[in-house]
Amino acid sequence: MNTKIGKLLEEARVDGFLAYRTIHGFFFPYLFSRENARKLEPWKQTKAHYPMAKLLLALARGNPNRTYGILVRGCEERAIRELFKWGQLERERVVMLGQACPAELARHCECWQPYPSQVDYGKPVPPVKGSKRVQDLEKMTAENRLQWWLSHFNRCIRCFGCRDVCPVCFCTDCSMEHEKLIPSNKLPPDTSFHLVRAVHMTGRCIDCGLCEEVCPARIHLRTLYKEVNRLVEEVFDYKPGTDGQNSPFIFPGEEAMLPPGPR
């Protein structure tokens, strides 16, 4: 990792590089620049999973004229591609280096593509087809499924963690804060909170699973969004984060585009 990133920094291809650094034995996201390039470490495989794309988005919004490099997993690459499509990041201002996920992480995520298109570090492991968690729920009766979801949704403490960590949640105005739709005086919020978010994940969710990891109530959000993705593929014939296919959720014309901006 140190040689490739060091070279990118030295040749001034990038102004900063977002990768990991070990601090007290743990992996943390770290922004490397020419000044601290000596702190770069050799690449090591890790299960550490951070909202790297979201960090990149925040960096790019703060410094629109700079070019950043980023170390990506399969899901992070999909997130960045989706952000390109929505006009939130510029293609020429992002340089990606890819790392493949370990088999354990791919299994845990039930990831359909646990590696980016270009793998610089690690060895790609085979993707997981289908999702056992979704299939288990499909087998239940409608009544049991409702009870199962209610037992999850009722634990929600409305911390907005799922939204705040989501790499593709970039809107400056959020429907989750709509007073009529999600009344602010209700705790736990009713089912509409999760269904509205699920509706907003259509054509955007790249299945990184950060929402579920960050959820303090351990709501199985990923299972819900995996089904959302399956429906999007079935109804709209679109897989978010794939290259070369325009998103059917973006209307042509500049007025309809969501403007980039800080939230």
């Binding site: 409702l146 037992s151 709509h178």
Partner: protein
Amino acid sequence: MKDKIFEPRILGFLCNWCSYAGADLAGVSRLQYPPNIRIIRVMCSGTVSPHHILHAFQRRADGVLVAGCHIGDCHYLKGNYLTMKRMKFLEGLLRFAGYEPQRLHLEWISAAEGGKFADTVREFTERIRELGPAPSFEAVPKATAIKVT
């Protein structure tokens, strides 16, 4: 109170150019249909956001009817194509979350089809009457269902 038959509350989103005119025709033709439906006129069925439908269920609607022009007849050329996909997605989502997708109904009704409008409302009301009241979005799970995983 108990032996009173259940009167469902149904919300109808009708498009301005076809279905609303169809409903109007049903009225002027004096066709009978159940008064359980409350109609909201929208400019196009494509303007009905999933939010509106979820909000209707949140506010205790027992069924939601969305009606628009026939495919190819949309006043805005392709608004009803959007509706069709959106409704299909929303049905799938409601089903997966454990709610009955039958409470959501999409129908193409043209301005000349007053009879079809009356039939649709009649059939839909009967269907919802059989299903009973919609589960509340504020429901709490039964004690047996609570299992922290």
